[in-house]
Assembly symmetry: C2
Homo-oligomer: 430 residues x 2
Amino acid sequence: MKVIKVALLGFGTVGQGVYELLMKNGYIFEKKLGIQIDIKKILVRDVKKKREVKVPPELFTTNFEEILRDEEIAIVCELMGGLEPAKSYILKSLFQGKQVVTANKAVLAESGAEIFEMARSKGAFLGFEASVGGGIPVIKTLNEALIGNQIERITGIINGTTNYILTRMLEQNISFEKALDEAKAKGYAEADPSLDLKGLDSAHKISILGSLAFGIYIPFDKVYIEGIENIDLMDLKFAQSFGYVIKLIAEVKRDRDKIEIRVHPALIPEDHILTSVRLNYNAIFIRGDFVGDILLYGLGAGKEPTASAVVSDIISATEYLLSKKSPLIPYPSKKEDFKIKPIKECIFKYYFRFSALDRPGVLSKISGILGKYGISIASVVQIGRQKKRGAVPIVMLTHEAKEERVERALAEIDTLEVLKAKTKRLRIIE
Amino acid sequence: MKVIKVALLGFGTVGQGVYELLMKNGYIFEKKLGIQIDIKKILVRDVKKKREVKVPPELFTTNFEEILRDEEIAIVCELMGGLEPAKSYILKSLFQGKQVVTANKAVLAESGAEIFEMARSKGAFLGFEASVGGGIPVIKTLNEALIGNQIERITGIINGTTNYILTRMLEQNISFEKALDEAKAKGYAEADPSLDLKGLDSAHKISILGSLAFGIYIPFDKVYIEGIENIDLMDLKFAQSFGYVIKLIAEVKRDRDKIEIRVHPALIPEDHILTSVRLNYNAIFIRGDFVGDILLYGLGAGKEPTASAVVSDIISATEYLLSKKSPLIPYPSKKEDFKIKPIKECIFKYYFRFSALDRPGVLSKISGILGKYGISIASVVQIGRQKKRGAVPIVMLTHEAKEERVERALAEIDTLEVLKAKTKRLRIIE
């Protein structure tokens, strides 16, 4: 029986999940693989803190150097999250010749260039399956299963909090605020949910997926980002009446020599399988030139699913340890010469919701301006005058148009006196 | 640049797809991995046959021994299908110390015990990602990504032909025969589609998935099988009215020390993501104790998706070749002592469609017999008398009941004089 010694950095939700998995299912590795995965040290801030999981107290340490210097420890799992000291610990562990597993999307999306370079130069295995999509094996799929494909497009619902909120709003006819409160109560949203709601969490993840798909490290700051804070129940309902569901979409695709990488809410046709992804589930849709369309679906966060991914990386790391070989498949590399397609150059069909006074000629004025910018209307719904005076919604779906023209047209429309609020503009992805 | 020499056995649809993929995307491996995948020989029956793909004629051979004896050929891809000579060729190639990749579900489901044992004893890599679900990475997911999980259940739609037929019948209101003709015209059904329609193809595949999930080789003849030949449009419509979609389901799960493994049509609740799997798409739903529920979706057959899977296995084989190590994850092994749960002991909710004369007391007779066998009714629909005299459908959904009791109850009910045809019985999976 080979014994593999592992250290955990951090013992929050994910760390405890990994510990519990190894306690409950560690026998699988012993029986199936003839190896024993042994947690030798756990780095924590406070050794004495009360914890739900019962752990022999001698495993805890507050000193990272102790782990780093311990030659028996072959695999370091960074499960602390955040940028520092996570980044330094990952770099130092790799430098020391250890294999590293991390669940930290932020550190890869923001400092991946350095981390991947260190892993490459040391010939180390760096596992990060848990950084995107929880237990969904999207990293392995992109890196290994689809290796013979040119990836054309990745379209994901990769944030459970926002997907939960959008699902509940539509299905329960409730406001954004009410759905958010519910998500908090269920533990699907954090006390400060802004990273999720603003799309930053999704942007971290799509930066990682895009980097794998195209082999070029695409840092987080290249991602165009819009969140869901401005989605009204009314928009979800209008979209539904046109046969669409609004989801927070993270997408990356290649357009000849340019990469388009974005996070924003979008209307998805209701017969697309992504619209079946409800509540806190995640899904990643990948199009490859040979594999066609595939979708991977599951819980994108949470203690147990994330632990499942971390442990699968620990086993991969073990396989490289035992073979004393470096991974064949390279890490994304830093290239300065690739181009990001600016959002202004991107082309979409659009959903517009105008808030206009119900007066003769309004529709003609709006459509006149759209026409001037070459934007053609596919369908329109104008809701009749309401009892109290004031603005009424006019909803339009357009044919394909360049974002820049749309921005200019809407800026002009919004100066019309009959328009009573800034026009809502959402993209349609088909 | 390392050059890896590969032989293809068979040059039908899949073989040609693999060849085309390597021609088009082979540069990916050169650029990314520094290796060149080189097809050295292709085994065919007729060297002179006209083929769509242009291949240098010197690659073709009709002599398997030539490939076997060629020490340069490190990887053999068996893409012929069928039992023999595929089985002998796989065994001989493994014995000779070559790595083997196969897309052949039948040979693994029927002779896997021998083949897996040979791979194990030679420490060889045997890749079979393409044997189930075309380009969907379900083998890699079960074997590697979910290795830390106890698999509780796999529920799949793993035959494109039958899924296409059931989808078109329901969505286009057409008969089984008409949908089958359409599937043939589109190339989704073979000239003799009986392997697909009778559920045998799905049974081959679930035998492989079950073997991986539980680490015990479950041969094909242990799978309980029903096909879709008896599904009427009427049943699809009734199921829909109750909020269900009928799919051909392949399922394997563990019930303490027994394994339940079956292929049959089943009613799935319409809010389950499996019901979004339309036309010739496949999907595999897996429940693990840590990962929770995940779903993998994509094209389960076809030249390009299958080639994508074969090539990913060729790269895995290459990685083992270069490391000179055997795979850490073992092949399913033959065990005599595991128990299959007989279908009679399985418990389901059921859908019944009785064809009964519209006479007073019929419903009471039927429900009386069901009650006698302890089967309780959850809902019932009786369609009013039709213009012409004759049988009317009575549709019932039941609560959970043991299959054996259901069989006995239906046998008794079908002897009633007022029953005009054998009762339709479908299982419900939730």
